[in-house]
């Protein structure tokens, strides 16, 4: 599909903390184009002397919200772009962006198959765009999210995910906390493994469409296990974030 994705200068409308290391930026775009859930924008920073750094960030918001997008960004200490987005950028600032980009890792709910979303850490961001779209569009397709985080405080969008779950036809959300769990925790408490995937995925049947997003290692092993459980590789789409999310 031909789409113009020229660089444009967006304005930061709001900055909203999600967790201690994750923030959501709301950007107003002069040339907003309706995106597809799962797509991303490229951000480019330019210093006075011309030095540039560029990174990609998944769109967190639903396409139904016109004129603006949410990008949820994890602050990576050794990163070059995310510390700037966290420490320097404030509402009113302008920032160069390009997008929406991507055609492979998208879901719009036009197919009837059940949907399984698997996230590691900030890999939940593009999947959140899918869930928000599904909610706004009134989707009824059977949907589950399996979301791996280190600790409870690291879970992004926790309250909103609870709310989505409580709605009729809402997605079922399964959390797993791999490092520490709060008292009384009833969810999973270990790295994603075949048994966990079997429990979460099996009820969705063999025609399930799967989207996995997160650190490369999690994505690789999860995809392998799902194939081992009999899900055809062609039904699994992945987005690897590298060692620990985009920098």
């Amino acid at each position: 599909m031909k789409a113009s994705i020229e660089w444009q200068i967006a304005t930061v409308k709001a900055v909203h903390p999600e967790t201690h290391s994750v923030k959501t930026l709301t950007l107003k775009l002069p040339n907003w184009q309706r995106h597809r859930p799962g797509q991303h924008y490229d951000i480019r920073l330019t210093a006075e002397d011309g030095y540039q750094a560029q990174r990609s960030y998944s769109i967190a918001s639903e396409p139904e919200r016109e004129g603006e997008i949410d990008l949820t960004v994890e602050r990576i200490e050794s990163g070059e772009v995310s510390p700037y987005l966290h420490d320097v950028l404030i509402p009113g600032d302008r920032i160069e962006v390009r997008g929406p980009i991507g055609g492979y890792f998208v879901w719009e709910g036009s197919r009837p198959e059940p949907l399984l979303l698997i996230a590691g850490g900030s890999g939940v961001v593009p999947l959140m765009s899918m869930l928000r779209h599904r909610s706004v569009a009134g989707g009824k397709i059977q949907t589950r999210l399996l979301y791996s985080s280190r600790t409870f405080d690291d879970i992004i969008y926790f309250a909103e995910l609870e709310r989505l779950q409580g709605v009729k036809n809402g997605p079922k959300v399964y959390h797993t906390l791999t490092r520490t769990q709060p008292e009384g925790w009833k969810g999973y408490a270990r790295r994603i493994d075949r048994q966990m995937l079997g429990e979460v995925a099996k009820p969705l049947g063999g025609s399930v469409q799967v989207f996995i997003c997160g650190p490369t290692l999690l994505v690789e092993s999860t995809a392998d296990e799902l194939v081992g459980l009999g899900i055809p590789a062609a039904q699994i789409r992945t987005e690897r974030f590298g060692p620990s999310g985009p920098a």
Binding site: D42, G102, G103, T216, A233
Partner: protein, 95 residues
């Protein structure tokens, strides 16, 4: 996507071609990650989005997820973009 490469720190740097979707679109003028490509090494046919991307280096290298051979190599210079597609038997772009 399911290769035999043992995973290690450097493999963590391995992404999928989504990571270069913006560049590919800029160069080819169309969204490329859904374009089918046939690997000249092993004949595996898959969408470009499934290729494994190594983006931290002098250029971008996209490798076949089945056999790890280079399918596309992209080098950006100040005035050009070099695309070496010897590793692909074809790329199929729909009208």
């Amino acid at each position: 996507m399911l290769s035999d490469t043992p995973l290690d720190v450097s493999s963590e740097l391995m992404l999928d071609a989504n990571a270069v979707a913006g560049l590919l679109q800029e160069v080819f003028g169309v969204e490329m990650t859904v374009v089918p490509a046939e690997c000249a090494g092993c004949g595996n046919r898959a969408e470009i989005g499934t290729l494994l991307a190594f983006t931290r280096g002098p250029g971008i290298v996209l490798r076949c997820a089945a056999c790890m051979q280079v399918v596309l190599r992209i080098v950006q210079t100040p005035d050009s973009v070099y695309i070496d597609a010897r590793g692909a038997v074809y790329l199929r772009l729909r009208r």
